[in-house]
Subunit: 467 residues, 3 copies
């Protein structure tokens, strides 16, 4: 792995601080919560914000009404606020319709959600597509509620408005794109939401410092309906997406899980598997399944985009999932930094994966004469020499560096460095048909420009070194 | 697995009773034993009986003379019948030429066959293609024989006659066929013979109650020479066989074994492997080998039909094989019923395996709006929801339901039900090129008629609901 | 495995004696050492010797100056020869430039090489492409050297001369070739050098006694530069190489290792894997890597020849590698004989691997009638019968005998014998497109002649039974 600019521990703390900044916001799939979240991201990277009106048809779905909540509480018979949105954004069932009433405990109970098996945790509940209201609280709190009259208040609005999402675009030498997508619609849930947002934001910052082969599009969107909306509005240009990653649950202490794209053996699948296999942390590769996060939409059969999903613990498979225990102490600076590093390494593979042609294909070239061979008096390390021999042997125009990495078992950066060295020495040339990103334009897409048809407010794009 | 009409235990007893009815008959590859067996089957399902004359050339073989035996015994020096065909049909070497003589024990001994390693069991021996005579008895009985003169009598005939086999044909919507074949030429051997006959007969009964996509042909034939004869007489129409199963040794207490067809990955191979993997009993998939039962002929290179072999214990691999210990207590009602259920499940896969096309391929359709999604307030089970998501995701015209079952690991009926539901909801359509059985005729074969060229007596075909 | 003419133990001793004869010679990649070695081989098989002048360009390399050494020693301050080339050819760094000087111990030390971790062994060192001089000795000897003035002498020459290699060619019915290559450039190293030379020489002797389908070319060459030189001089005719084996480290007590060709699934790879799997000794199949012996050159991407490498212990992986401990007691007569037998078995597979066509493809032919089936009264063994059934079943013109061996798990000779028997019985015919070696010429290469363009002295080719 290439050394990052700053130490992992410093980056980890920055990532965690950013997650902490976003933590209190009561996000939902529409409304001011996600707008405030996007604004916080904009303090770090340029974002193009799209606002899509309620009622807009998006494939089989319709953009819903916009939901906003100002206050929500339950007052006990003694007049004390015993459940209070201001204390935890999970307390109100997301998308609750407004209510203000007084009722006995028995009438209130059908609107209360708890986790009897984890009696101290508050569950996270939503009711997006069925109008209802409710509160979430710990089971122990529920058990302690006395009989009597309760004042309940949800000061929410559910009205025509907009669905909001943000895009960050980095133009590369090619218009072909890498898509990085994370959902930004969950309230105070740290691993399942904020970890992905934080890592994606920092990754965008890091990538903006490089000369890029591919263009990069980072999506900060509401889950499901946001991805569907984005795909509906960009249907004609999804063909430019060469690789993609959904980032979620990427900050907890668990090992990595990468879920393959529907294609199963796309370059992103192979790059992720390779990097995880060499990252020094436990990791597991999971087959695609049509359940999970927004890879469900990107990998629907009509799109079938090469988009996988990178996680640490798998959603639904850790007990803290969708509870108040998925909090800021559940995500760790070191793991956030490690996830960022792995993402960067995967993108490094994509950026540098190409096929070369050995210019001396008949027998080995004499590396020793060029100082490129291991010798009694030092010179290359054994690993460096092996990397050179592998690259030379398989660079027949039919094997990419990733192919060579897979066959040799060697780490991609070692092979990539070897290829660069051999190319400088005239022993290797890039295959001419390795089109992507090698020329300014591939004749199909305009290079270095955001999609012309994306509507909404285009904000200043200050950060781009190549604009 | 779909629920059967009657309980497994009732069906198991019926299967066992049917095997018991057939058990005493002294069957051989020709003669009245197999005729009586076919007559017993005809009491349950319509059969078309074919009689092929001795001497008829069938490929590299010739239909042999017909063998019949009325009586066979050995009388001890004291005049007692110590070996008696009436007591056990295994006592005479099958196809023994007639003999009536008196001889000392030492002259008799070369004609006596025993199993020293299992001294209480009587072996099963044949001498189809070398004229000879002999008796089989237990080794303990042999050891107890006193010196003296023995009267031996085999009252058999080996003369020009016929080879007899039976066919049961069920016409489906397509003329393409599923072949179910079992041998009916072994005398009192329960697992190796009667289990297959009983299960095939009951399976034919069960299938006749359904509206069928495929046509079904059940063969009750003498092993090897019968299959060769049938193939020789139906050589030009074997192309209509889309799937096939040989049933043998399917009633003992062992787990299942499925031996793949020569092709190795035919649809029948995949269907059988899938069903066995989900049947709740131990099972093992075996590669094809050119030894065994009549799959040897169906899978000879000139035919190479997609025919596998379903067994419980593998022939030759259980000690009772080809001995008197393969008797009615060696086969179990519960296992016979389980084998019938597995056969039916395999045919259910074949009947229902087709490719669909998702009518909303761009992103997921909104299942919740249609009540097809799991929700807080109930609705679909998680497995039902997953089955729907899998079917939708992979129904791109390139994946059959069996493909989806294999990739998802879900049981076929769950996916098949999901597909039916989604189709009714307009979310899925059957792929038009899924020709077989979807139209009345595929333009090549006549539908719903037995093969015109099959000779022999065509019996009344009473049972067919669709004739 | 077919029985060899003489017992393994007698052959093993002969192989070991031959290695012992070659052991004392101080070989290098050029010079009289390799010439003497080739002369010893010529006492057993005809060799065509090539002499290629120093300075000849061979692809990216240049044939080096010729090195010869007459004497080399270190005299201790007391005048005793304490390191002496006459005692062990490893004592001088191979390709040392001449030196004759007196110097204090401290000045000498940078020229002394030892193995501190194996203090009794002498290392093997070379300096082919960097002019230098040095001595190798045991570490214990180094530690015992007293201070004082040492006389060092290397009476070597490094001058324009020739690179020498030897070829043995056996003409077969086809001009298509099997290449057997071993390096002959290491001084007194028994496993890494002499084992390959001895086995290759004996293998050539054995093969010369057969009527051959393929032509065979045995190369005795200096490692790396020799293979590169040979390939450069035979570049236009390497296309005739259908199969190839590099033999090295093939005499020690370890199990077999076969390293696949770059292609990974060439016929030689499959033949070697098959033979090793049935040879009765432990064995392991290794994937190709671009490091090792001369397979590196044969498998360079511009050639990509189907050449694998057969070893017992893998070079570099045994502690005795490139030390004085790789001596005559490190290689064993029994293992040398076993390696020869395995090589012969691999070539037997190549010689006999072809596709047949079953002449009775519709059902099985009646083997019993022809005495080819297992029967009560004896006849074929079960293995023989199974081999016949397998060959018949898969001989559809699409499966070679090696395909059948792999699928059936049966040993190749059993199947090959079955095919021969069935062919004689008219049940099988050789596929007409099995061109190689079946006719006198394939129209592309001249048959039965050495490559016309090979230069150098053509020696008498006495041994060839077919010339």
């Amino acid at each position: 792995m290439k050394q990052l600019d700053r130490s992992d521990s410093a980056i980890g703390l920055d990532l965690h601080h950013f997650a902490a900044e976003l933590y209190p916001i009561c996000r939902s799939i529409t409304g001011d919560g996600i707008r405030r979240t996007l604004a916080a991201i904009q303090n770090r990277i340029p974002l193009q914000i799209s606002e899509v009106p309620s009622g807009t048809p998006v494939f089989d779905w319709t953009v819903p009404k916009e939901w906003n909540v100002r206050d929500a509480f339950i007052k006990a018979p003694d007049g004390q606020r015993i459940v209070d949105l201001q204390k935890c954004s999970l307390h109100v069932v997301n998308y609750s319709t407004p209510v203000h009433a007084t009722m006995p405990l028995e009438a209130l109970k059908p609107h209360l959600y708890t986790l009897p098996e984890c009696p101290d945790w508050i569950p996270y509940r939503t009711s997006y597509y069925r109008e209802d209201w409710g509160f979430c609280l710990s089971h122990n709190q529920l058990l302690a509620l006395p009989q009597g009259e309760y004042e309940v208040c949800i000061d929410s609005t559910l009205e025509d408005g907009h669905l909001t999402y943000g895009e960050h675009y980095l133009a590369g030498r090619s218009a072909e794109e890498v898509l990085i997508s994370c959902h930004a619609c969950h309230p105070s849930l740290a691993n399942d939401n904020l970890s992905g947002i934080a890592v994606a934001t920092f990754l965008a910052e890091q990538m903006s410092r490089s000369d890029l082969r591919y263009s990069y599009r980072f999506l900060f969107i509401p889950g499901t309906i946001g991805a569907i909306t984005w795909l509906a509005r960009n249907q004609n240009t999804t063909g430019r997406i060469r690789h993609g990653l959904v980032l979620t649950c990427i900050g907890d202490a668990g090992g990595f899980h990468y879920k393959r794209s529907r294609r199963g053996n796309a370059e992103i699948d192979r790059a992720a598997a390779h990097v995880l296999g060499h990252c020094g942390e436990p990791s597991e590769i999971l087959d695609f399944s049509p359940y999970g996060y927004d890879e469900r939409q990107y990998c629907s059969p009509g799109f079938d985009l090469p988009v996988g999903c990178l996680m640490r613990s798998v959603w639904e498979c850790f007990p803290e999932y969708h509870t108040s225990a998925d909090n800021l102490s559940f995500i760790k600076p070191q793991q956030l930094a490690g996830s960022l590093r792995v993402c960067k390494s995967i993108l490094d593979v994509l950026e540098n994966n190409r096929s070369y042609r050995n210019q001396n294909p008949l027998c080995e070239p004499q590396l020793g004469r060029r100082g490129l061979y291991r010798s009694v008096e030092g010179g290359a390390s054994r690993a460096e020499m092996m990397a050179r021999l592998w690259v030379l042997n398989l660079s027949d125009g039919k094997h990419s560096l990733l192919d060579i990495a897979e066959r040799s078992g060697m780490a991609f950066p070692l092979l990539s460095d070897a290829a660069e060295l051999l190319q400088r020495g005239g022993l290797l040339s890039v295959e001419p048909n390795e089109g992507v990103g090698e020329e300014c334009s591939n004749g199909v897409f305009e290079t270095g420009k955001p999609n012309a048809h994306i509507e909404g407010v285009v904000l200043s794009r200050s950060g781009g070194v190549r604009q």
